[in-house]
C-alpha cells in the first residue's frame, strides 16, 4: 500500500496564477508573430511553447510535487524526442 503518503494539495490561488501566466505567454507568442526576426521567429515561438509546457508539467501535472522519478522520466522522454529530431535532420542534411 502506498496510499499513506502525505499528499500535496495545490491551492486554488496557485492554479489561477499559473493560468494567468500561461495566457500572458500565449498573448506574447501571438504578438511576436508581427515582429520580424527572420529565421528566429520559429525559434522564439518554440521557446515560448517550451516555457508553457514546462509550467503545465510542473504545476498542473504536479511534477513539482511528485517523487523525483517522475520528472526524471519526463526529461528522458523529452531528450529522446530531441535526439530523434536531431538524427532525422542530420540524415536529411547529409544524404
Amino acid at each position: 500500500m502506498t496510499n499513506d503518503e502525505k499528499t500535496h494539495i495545490v491551492p486554488y490561488k496557485t492554479q489561477i496564477t499559473v493560468l494567468i501566466v500561461l495566457i500572458i505567454l500565449t498573448a506574447i507568442s501571438v504578438a511576436v508573430t508581427q515582429l520580424e526576426f527572420g529565421n528566429m521567429n520559429t525559434l522564439v515561438a518554440m521557446v515560448l511553447a517550451g516555457t508553457k509546457s514546462f509550467i503545465v508539467l510542473a504545476w498542473f501535472m504536479h511534477l513539482k510535487y511528485e517523487k523525483k522519478l517522475f520528472p526524471i522520466m519526463v526529461t528522458s522522454v523529452v531528450i529522446l524526442f530531441l535526439l530523434v529530431l536531431f538524427v532525422t535532420f542530420f540524415d536529411y542534411s547529409y544524404r
Binding site: 500500500m1 495545490v10 493560468l19 495566457i23 500565449t26 503545465v56 498542473f60 529522446l80 530523434v84
Partner: protein, 198 residues
C-alpha cells in the same frame, strides 16, 4: 476487509501511457519539421490561411479547462464534492466548446476547398498539399483526444456522483487530469506551428 490500492502504481502507468502519446505526436512533429524545411514558403502561405483568432480562443479555452480540472482535484482532496463536480462540469463544457469551434473552423476550410484531395488544393502545389494534409491529420488526431476526454469526464463525473471517487480515493480525477493536461500540452505546440507561422 481492505481493498488493495496502489495509487502510485496507477499514476506511474498513466505516465507511461502519456509517454507513448508524446512519442506518437512527437513523430508527427518530426514529419512536420522535415516537410516544413523542404517547403518553407508553402507552409508560410498555408499558415496565413488559418484563423489566428479562432486558434487563440481555442488555446485559451484549453488552458482554462486545464486549470478547472486541476482545481477539481484540489476540491476533492479538500472533500468538497459539490465544487469538484462543478469544476469537472465546467471542464466538460469547455471541451465541448473547443470541438464546436473546431467544427466551424474546419467547415470554413471545406467551403474554400482546402481539404486533402480537393481540386483547389491540387492546383496550389505539393507544399500546400502537405501543409493541409498535416493540419487536418494532426488537429484531427488532437480533436479525437478531446472527444475521448469528453467521454472520460462524463465517466468520472458519474463516479464522483456515485461516491466511488471520494476524499481519500481520487486517482480517477488525478489520472483523467493528467490525460487532459497532455491534450493541452499538444495544443500548446500545434497552435504556434500551424497558426503562427511567420
Amino acid at each position: 476487509m481492505t481493498i488493495h490500492r496502489d495509487d502510485l502504481g496507477d499514476k506511474f502507468g498513466m505516465w507511461l501511457f502519456i509517454f507513448t502519446e508524446l512519442l506518437l505526436f512527437g513523430m508527427l512533429f518530426v514529419v512536420y519539421a522535415v516537410y516544413r524545411s523542404m517547403h518553407p514558403e508553402a507552409f508560410r502561405i498555408g499558415g496565413q490561411e488559418l484563423d489566428v483568432a479562432m486558434g487563440a480562443i481555442n488555446t485559451v479555452i484549453l488552458l482554462v479547462s486545464s486549470m478547472t480540472v486541476a482545481m477539481s482535484l484540489t476540491a476533492m482532496q479538500k472533500g468538497d464534492k459539490t465544487k469538484c463536480l462543478q469544476l469537472l462540469g465546467a471542464t466538460l463544457l469547455l471541451a465541448v466548446i473547443f470541438l464546436v469551434n473546431k467544427y466551424f473552423e474546419w467547415g470554413t476550410k471545406f467551403e474554400y476547398g482546402l481539404v486533402p484531395g480537393s481540386e483547389t488544393l491540387q492546383e496550389l502545389g505539393h507544399g500546400t498539399i502537405l501543409f493541409f494534409g498535416l493540419y487536418f491529420f494532426m488537429t484531427g488526431v488532437h480533436a479525437l483526444h478531446i472527444l475521448i476526454g469528453i467521454g472520460l469526464f462524463i465517466f468520472v463525473i458519474v463516479k464522483v456522483k456515485k461516491g466511488d471517487v471520494h476524499k481519500t480515493d481520487y486517482i480517477w480525477i488525478e489520472n483523467t487530469g493528467l490525460y487532459w493536461h497532455l491534450v493541452d500540452l499538444i495544443w500548446i505546440f500545434l497552435f504556434p506551428l500551424f497558426y503562427l507561422i511567420h
